[in-house]
Symmetry: C2
Subunit: 321 residues, 2 copies
């Protein structure tokens, strides 16, 4: 059996292979080839923590994957990271445990970044250049890295805004050290009015991005809302958008960014499409250059399966050399 610590996993990751694997997995999910039972969930209110169990299988794959991801929001106060987690890969032919990826949440962060980049690339205007990043956490960084990787030929410019200017500056410095220039903005409205692509990555519980700020042709990828009560985009903006795309219709309408508009009957399920269907050519994404498009990503097990399989493939190749 294979046991890989985080450092080994980080060294094995190849972003291009991982991008291709996650994109193919989205298509498999929308084709009905994936089994993804409801997410398992435990809460620890006394310690401000929760734990998600995502698992599933793509028909024909030799491996199935179970991912456990915990978030304990008081951890930073005692010097521990908020997120932790592990992925388990089993043989779909014998049930035998084949690998334990002790990724400590790294692969969840990465696959979320990859999902955002895939959605953004698929839905933004071909001539979009100006990217606004809203939020300064770990996911802000991954969205920039993965989008940069997914669109290597496009001269994107990145500007970041956060409630804390210091944190925005810190994120810009980290990315600069990796060779990606990021400007810091202190004016969220102006940033949004100027942007052609907006990526939101905050845990906000009230809409940050106002409808009036968004120009025709803008694409927005919303990553933050993944639980009841979280919302980053003005409900009117969700209703106004020309195309609403999500990774999981069931999750997005129940506890994602589309929930508020759905609850107030501003949109119905028929007004939304799944990302895999768009990627597979079965549903429309952007049609006109003046369309406003929104991608809401709550995260699905298929991303975990794809990223775990991608790491294991890389490990096996490295051993075969």
């Amino acid at each position: 059996m294979i046991i890989l610590p985080r450092s080994a996993i980080e060294a094995l990751v190849d972003l291009d292979s991982a991008l291709a694997a996650v994109e193919a997995a989205y298509i498999a999910a929308s084709d009905g080839r994936a089994t993804m039972p409801p997410v398992g969930y435990l809460v620890f209110p006394e310690n401000d923590g929760d734990c998600h169990i995502k698992y599933g299988h793509i028909a024909g794959d030799p491996t199935f994957v179970i991912k456990v991801a915990a978030g304990f929001y008081g951890n930073p106060a005692i010097g521990l990271p908020t997120s932790s987690g592990v992925m388990l890969a089993f043989s779909a032919e014998t049930g035998v445990l084949e690998a334990i990826l002790l990724d400590e949440g790294f692969l969840t962060d990465l696959r979320t970044g990859l999902g955002g980049a895939i959605a953004t690339r698929a839905l933004c205007r071909a001539d979009a250049r100006r990217v606004a990043i809203v939020g300064t956490g770990i996911q802000a960084r991954w969205q920039v890295r993965c989008l940069r990787q997914a669109m290597p030929e496009t001269p994107l410019t990145f500007t970041i805004w956060g409630r804390s200017q210091d944190k925005a500056q810190e994120t810009a410095s980290v990315l600069a050290s990796e060779g990606i220039d990021v400007t810091v903005s202190s004016d969220l409205e102006r940033l949004c009015r100027d942007a052609e692509i907006i990526i939101t990555t905050t845990p906000s519980r009230q809409p940050l991005i106002q409808d009036a700020w968004i120009q025709p042709g803008t694409h927005i990828t919303a990553i933050g809302a993944d639980a009841p009560g979280k919302q980053e985009l003005d409900t009117a903006l969700v209703v106004r958008a020309d195309h609403r795309i999500c990774d999981s219709l069931e999750q997005s309408l129940d506890h994602g960014e589309f929930y508020a508009a759905f609850r107030t009957k501003g949109i119905s399920a028929e007004n939304c499409a799944e990302l895999g269907a768009v990627l597979g050519g079965k549903a429309k994404g952007r049609v006109h250059s003046s369309d406003i498009t929104i991608a809401d990503l709550t995260g699905i097990a298929i991303q975990d399966i794809a990223i775990a399989t991608s790491v294991l493939d890389a490990y096996r190749r490295s051993q075969a050399r």
Copy 2:
């Protein structure tokens, strides 16, 4: 982080501590102190396999546990065991993964044996001596071992029946090598008519144990039925029993031994009680020595939490020495 292979886990298990831990956990579950979300489930029809994910937390416990157990029924034909599995223990205070128990299904087998022994001890007549074991698989062995351990002062006698006399003889030989005498029977009806305790451990899909065979005063622990379509006991016998006890009312009435009687309206939920409530003195078990009692055990996450915690406690004690 602690990683324990099966051999280390086997060496650490202390049956008396484990019995006490599982019994306390049943009581916690019936007291409402346990969180046990619905069991996660994946099926692999092409490979005759399935995978269960059981998880939960007992309020106040420093640890929460996720157990993955797979059963692939064609494995023996390729020289692999049917069952495999792993248990993960996480801190309920920080979400950090604390231990991986690579038990390969051993702890599931053991905790199922312990659950049966606890139910049998709690519900059989004080003067019961003659134990009938129906079925010859791994669980037949564990039921004998655990009951022997749970009732050390009682001179129990064990007789086993299986569809294959050879397998019954093999199980008797294995147990004899561990110092437990087991007689083999070739006549299931006669065995049941003579028994004071009957423990059924088969994957039968039609009732093996007929109502007419069961004498007043008998206790039956039914382990086998754990999925839709499985049934070991005559429906009339389940209806006729004076007390019906199960580990999980929800599971037993949905896909356990009590399902057939419940579906045909021979019993209702009010005619059943949970084992934890009986152990905790909140529900009646056996009242009269002539009562027929049935315990149906489908398996609950709380057993996994208890057994994993028990092994980890033993490991930590061994390290502290």
